[in-house]
């Protein structure tokens, strides 16, 4: 037996405990005893007080009544002598002892009453004080005695118990300890034997039972050793299974701390494959999970784990790790906290899977998805998908813009809630061919949306699931509204172009006819006039010739109108104020329209300067007013007004044929019968008329049209049947009046020749002959040439004598202008006069004469010819020099 220190022995501790307990018990019993002693003393004091009340007060009252102070003093002394009474006195009368001295004083007061004359009078108060100091002193004396007695008793009992315990228990416990210490699995056959009396009572007491139990346990251990060995084998197999299972899991199995950096308690070997670090590094603590998590993901992982540890819920998190070789890998972790019995989190258990490949595939998928999304969103075409019931399941931004609603109002709805019924039915017909017929449909859909009517070129195809079943459709629509409008515009322009071509062709035709016709008329008029000179005015022949001449002149007016329409009319424009021009024509116009129709004149407030031949203004107004007059059946009103307008580019874009700029307006309106759409379409065609036969030539508005175009203007007609018509003519505005040659006016021009030599060139022989005759009769010498070549030859032979060249303009081989140029090169003083049925572009640009060019329109009367010839011969040298410059 090893020698135990005294303080470790049970017997010693037992004695200590007994001493402590006995002392405590002695203290408690002493306290209880003292308490009762104290109570008894207090009861004694109470008895004393009661004795004073019962015995002394009845004696004191009569003494006090008699105020016998000596007796009172004796009586109070008697009270004072009672046990523990420290003071007795009657208030303000007599007292014994010292009042209120010391602590622990119990004070009592007794009222003293005496019956006098039938009334109870309080004649004084007896005060008695009892001191507790005596009580305490007695208690203290008792404490000392009790404590000493108890201490001695306790010590003696403790020593006895110590020896008794060691002899009966302690030494056997030591034996059992030695036995247990020396016991091993190899020594289980040796029994425990305690050295005690060999009687039966010893076998049945506590030590005997312990001895038997230890021996019984020893025998059972021998029997259960095999079971333990089998369990160890099973455990080893189980661990092997666990190791194999963990090794085969395609991820890391771990148990780690609940807080970063998550040092591991257990980790599978797979960690080396994922992170590059061997499991031993983790188990030794050199590496923890937190060390290889990507710094940018560490906070996310920590937050996720922290959020799930406290509630004990499973967590899942994906993050990047940095492989030992530096490569970045994606992992997926799923884990859960493990708690102890007090619900404190101990560990995190979980698995970590390498999802790098999955992640890359996802990223590729995401990029592809993003690409598709970008394609869908960035295409200008509307792309959409619908389910089998025609409800939208997808619509790109272009589709939403086309529909005019946000995505939330489109997806899940059909076209019947998005478009007017007619449009929705158009769409549905096409959708049904795709959904029910399985066809690819390409169609043009005309839809009405919030901002107007639109056209869509739509391609729709079936949308099929993996089994090939049609589950909806996918469509791509392109907004072709602009294209459609452009086509319409193009058609409109083509119509206008065709119309213009037609007008141009008609004009060209009319011009050609008029030219030749003018030559014939010129011959007729010339010969008629020549014939008239040789016939008496009273003769029948004279009248007949006059009729021929008048008919030829009317025909000449007709050809002049045709030339005006064909813009072949030769004009001499100048800058003038349209107001003044119109104002000067009002008188003539009023005569023209008659008295039953009012003519209202609304001139503009400002001058409207335009460059135009005033004759053309007269032609236009006359034709328009005659048309207006004819549209008014009985009475009515024609309004003429002028004004200034400006067209910008936007206006011109909406109105084909108009050009931007400032214009002067000339408008003629009537409140007559108006025109139909068909009439409006053919309005300006020559010979198109709605008037009765013989009442109109069909050339009036054609002439107006030709004049407007010749002056670079526009004409606009607005008419409504039964309400009237308004013609608005816009002529380009001029800012300043140009210095121009003063009009010739009606001054009397001498027509007779003075023997000047005129070289006459005309490819029409009859006209050449007739004109030669006229000029010779007027007093001129005439050299007649039937063409330019002949003229050149004549001029070369007689250059010095030729004063004036009178030539047709359009001739075969060489035009008049060219001829004039060549001749004037040879004869600088040579003056020129051009004649033509129309001007072409030889001497005039679009019918407008170049400045300084002398021209006379065929057919021409002999008088007009003589006057023009005289005018040219008399023209100032300045005019001639201009003419030459123009010719150069």
């Amino acid at each position: 037996m090893p020698l135990l220190p005294k303080v470790n022995r049970i017997a010693f501790r037992l004695v200590v405990y007994i001493c402590l307990f006995s002392s405590l018990a002695a203290l408690l019993s002493t306290a209880v005893q003292l308490f009762f002693e104290y109570r008894r003393d207090l009861d004694q004091i109470s008895a004393t007080v009661e004795q004073i009340r019962r015995s002394h007060i009845p004696a004191i009252v009569p003494t006090l009544w008699g105020y016998d102070l000596a007796v009172l003093a004796m009586q109070l002394q008697g009270i004072k002598n009672l046990p523990d009474v420290s003071y007795a006195g009657i208030v303000k009368v007599v007292e014994t002892g010292e009042k209120g001295r010391g602590r622990h004083i119990l004070s009592h007061e007794f009222p003293l009453q005496h019956t006098h004359r039938g009334q109870d009078l309080e004649i004084g108060v007896l005060q008695v004080e009892v001191s507790l100091q005596g009580v305490y002193r007695r208690l203290m004396d008792r404490v000392i005695v009790i404590l000493v007695t108890q201490t001695v008793k306790t010590f003696v009992v403790s020593i006895f118990i110590f020896f008794l315990f060691y002899a009966t228990v302690g030494r056997h416990l030591t034996t059992m300890a030695d036995f247990a210490r020396s016991l091993s699995l190899q020594d289980l056959g040796r029994p425990l034997v305690l050295r005690r009396r060999a009687d039966r009572s010893a076998k049945r007491d506590e030590l005997g039972l312990v001895e038997a139990a230890i021996n019984e346990m020893r025998e059972k251990l021998v029997g259960e050793m095999d079971t333990v060995r089998e369990a160890q084998t099973a455990l080893a197999r189980s661990e092997e299974r666990f190791r194999t299972l963990v090794a085969n899991i395609p991820g890391i199995v771990y148990r780690c701390e609940t807080q970063a950096p998550w040092r591991v308690e257990y980790i599978s070997e797979r960690v080396e494959q994922v992170s590059g670090y061997p499991a031993a590094d983790f188990l030794s603590g050199r590496v923890a999970f937190g060390h290889y998590i990507h710094p940018e993901d560490l906070a996310k992982v920590e937050a996720t784990v922290k959020a799930h540890v406290a509630p004990g819920t499973p967590f899942e998190v994906e993050y990047r790790i940095r492989h030992r070789d530096g490569a970045i890998r994606w992992v997926f972790e799923k884990g859960q906290a493990v708690f102890d019995r007090e619900n404190h989190p101990l560990w995190l258990d979980g698995v970590i899977l390498d999802i790098t490949q999955n992640r890359r595939a996802e990223e590729r998928l995401r990029e592809k998805d993003h690409l598709l999304h970008e394609i869908l969103e960035n295409t200008s075409d509307a792309v959409f998908c619908k389910d089998g019931d025609g409800r939208y399941i997808l619509a790109n931004s272009a589709a939403l813009r086309a529909i005019g609603r946000p995505e939330g109002e489109v997806v899940g709805r059909t076209d019947f809630t998005l478009f007017p019924r007619e449009s929705a039915e158009v769409i549905k017909r096409n959708d049904d061919q795709v959904l029910h017929g399985g066809l690819n449909v390409i169609a043009e859909e005309r839809l009405t949306v919030e901002y107007g009517e639109t056209w869509w070129h739509t391609s729709k195809s079936p949308l099929r699931d993996s089994q090939g079943k049609t589950i909806g459709l996918v469509g791509i629509s392109r907004d072709v509204t602009a294209l459609k409008l452009a086509e319409q515009h193009k058609e409109q322009l083509e119509r206008k172009f065709l119309q213009a071509q037609k007008m141009e062709s008609i004009g060209r035709l009319a011009g050609g006819v008029a030219h030749d016709f003018n030559n014939m008329l010129n011959v007729i008029i010339g010969h008629a006039e020549l014939a008239l000179e040789g016939v008496d005015q009273g003769a029948q022949l004279y009248e007949d010739l006059q009729e021929i001449k008048r008919a030829a002149l009317r025909s000449a007016d007709l050809t002049r109108q045709l030339l005006a329409f064909a813009r072949k009319q030769t004009v001499a424009p100048r800058v003038l104020d349209l107001r003044e021009a119109v104002d000067g024509m009002l008188k003539m116009l009023r005569r023209l329209i008659g008295e039953d129709i009012d003519l209202e004149w609304r001139p503009a407030k400002r001058p409207g300067l335009v460059k135009i031949d005033p004759v053309q203004i007269e032609q236009m107004l006359a034709n328009l007013c005659v048309n207006a007059r004819d549209a008014i059946i009985d009475t009515g009103k024609i309004t003429i007004e002028t004004g200034q307008v400006a067209f910008d580019e936007a206006y011109c874009a909406e109105h084909p044929g108009f050009l931007a700029g400032e214009y002067v307006l000339l408008a003629v309106s009537d409140d007559g019968c108006g025109m139909s759409a068909e009439t409006l379409t053919n309005l300006f065609e020559p010979f198109y008329t709605t008037k009765e036969l013989g009442k109109g030539t069909g050339l009036g508005l054609s002439t107006v049209y030709g004049i407007v175009k010749q002056n670079n203007g526009f004409v606009n007609v607005y008419s409504e049947p039964d309400h009237g018509t308004t013609f608005r003519i816009y002529l380009p505005a001029r800012q300043n009046r140009e210095a121009s040659l003063p009009p010739d006016g009606d001054k009397a021009v001498p027509v007779a020749g003075g023997g000047e030599c005129i070289l006459l060139v005309e490819d029409e022989p009859q006209l050449l002959k007739m004109t030669k005759t006229v000029l010779e009769r007027k007093g001129y010498r005439v050299l007649a040439a039937a063409g330019p070549a002949e003229a050149l030859a004549l001029a070369a032979a007689r250059a010095e004598t030729i004063d004036l060249l009178v030539t047709d303009v359009v001739m075969p081989g060489m035009n008049g202008r060219e001829l004039a140029g060549r001749l004037q090169a040879a004869i600088p003083k040579l003056r020129c006069l051009f004649m033509s049925g129309y001007t072409a572009n030889v001497i005039a640009h679009h019918g407008v004469l170049d400045e300084g060019v002398a021209f006379i329109q065929k057919p021409v009367s002999s008088r007009d010819l003589a006057a023009k010839v005289r005018e040219v011969l008399d023209r100032s040298p300045l005019t001639q020099s201009r003419q030459r410059a123009a010719e150069r």
Binding site: W65, G66, Y67, D68, L69, A70, V71, H116, R117, L121, I123
Partner: protein, 241 residues
């Protein structure tokens, strides 16, 4: 009709009767012959007559000396008689009637009527006894051979009769009355008095309004001979022959 008049007269007379029967209770510690339980002592009669003259009926309470003062001061009785001058300084609620009731002559009583007594110092050679609580005696008898204090006059004179002391000092008239009561012979009041004090009636402050009335009545009694007549009739039987 007669009975109606009788009732009216009774009603009218009732206040007068009540006023005439207003009562005053006075305490006294005097003994025979100055006061007795019957209320016929000298002081009893003087005070009663004075009260009667101002329309009061007197009720007399015989109490120990200090108790009579305490009770009168507390208003339990309406006043107290007869007491020396100056007590109103000690008992704040008592008011003195300035007209005195009588005089107290403090004399020495001895068995030998020739004992030379002249002043307090003459007591220096004698054993003296007094009644406890007599302040004037306790204050002035300071040089006697011994001073014995007894509870009451009976014990006092018994002490003298038993020859336990040489002299006893007491009020003359009370001493005469005590000797008569105890039927003691051979004891004499020695001349001359050691001190004489005027004795007065004190009233509680609630009865202060009666003081001038009683003073006037007492003066009138002394003036018209009533006082002397009462003194003679009350004290004659007790005075030595």
């Amino acid at each position: 009709m007669h009975w109606i008049l009788y009732v009216l007269l009774m009603i009218l007379a009732c206040p007068l009767r009540l006023a005439a029967e207003e009562q005053i209770t006075l305490a006294t510690s005097d003994g025979i012959p100055l006061s007795n339980p019957e209320g016929t002592g000298f002081h009893d009669q003087v005070v009663r007559e004075a009260c009667r003259r101002i329309g009061l009926s007197l009720n007399i309470e015989h109490l120990p000396a200090e108790r009579s003062l305490i009770n009168a001061n507390e208003g339990i009785e309406d006043g107290v008689y007869v007491r020396v001058e100056g007590l109103d300084a000690v008992y704040a609620d008592l008011r003195r009637v300035p007209e005195k009731i009588g005089d107290y002559e403090f004399v020495a009583f001895g068995r030998n009527k020739d004992m030379p007594i002249a002043g307090w110092d003459s007591l220096a050679n004698y054993h003296v006894a007094i009644v406890t609580g007599w302040k004037i005696l306790e204050k002035n008898i300071v040089a006697s051979r011994s001073l014995t204090k007894v509870k009451d006059a009976g014990l006092l004179f018994r002490t003298l009769a038993d020859d336990k002391v040489d002299l006893v000092v007491y009020n003359r008239l009370d001493g005469y009355g005590q000797l008569k009561e105890m039927k003691l012979q051979g004891i004499y009041a020695l001349q001359a008095p050691l001190a004489t004090r005027e004795m007065f009636l004190y009233l509680h402050k609630s009865r202060e309004r009666l003081i001038p009335l009683l003073s006037k009545a007492l003066r009138e009694m002394k003036g018209d001979g009533t006082y002397d007549r009462i003194k003679k009739s009350a004290l004659t039987a007790y005075l030595p022959q």
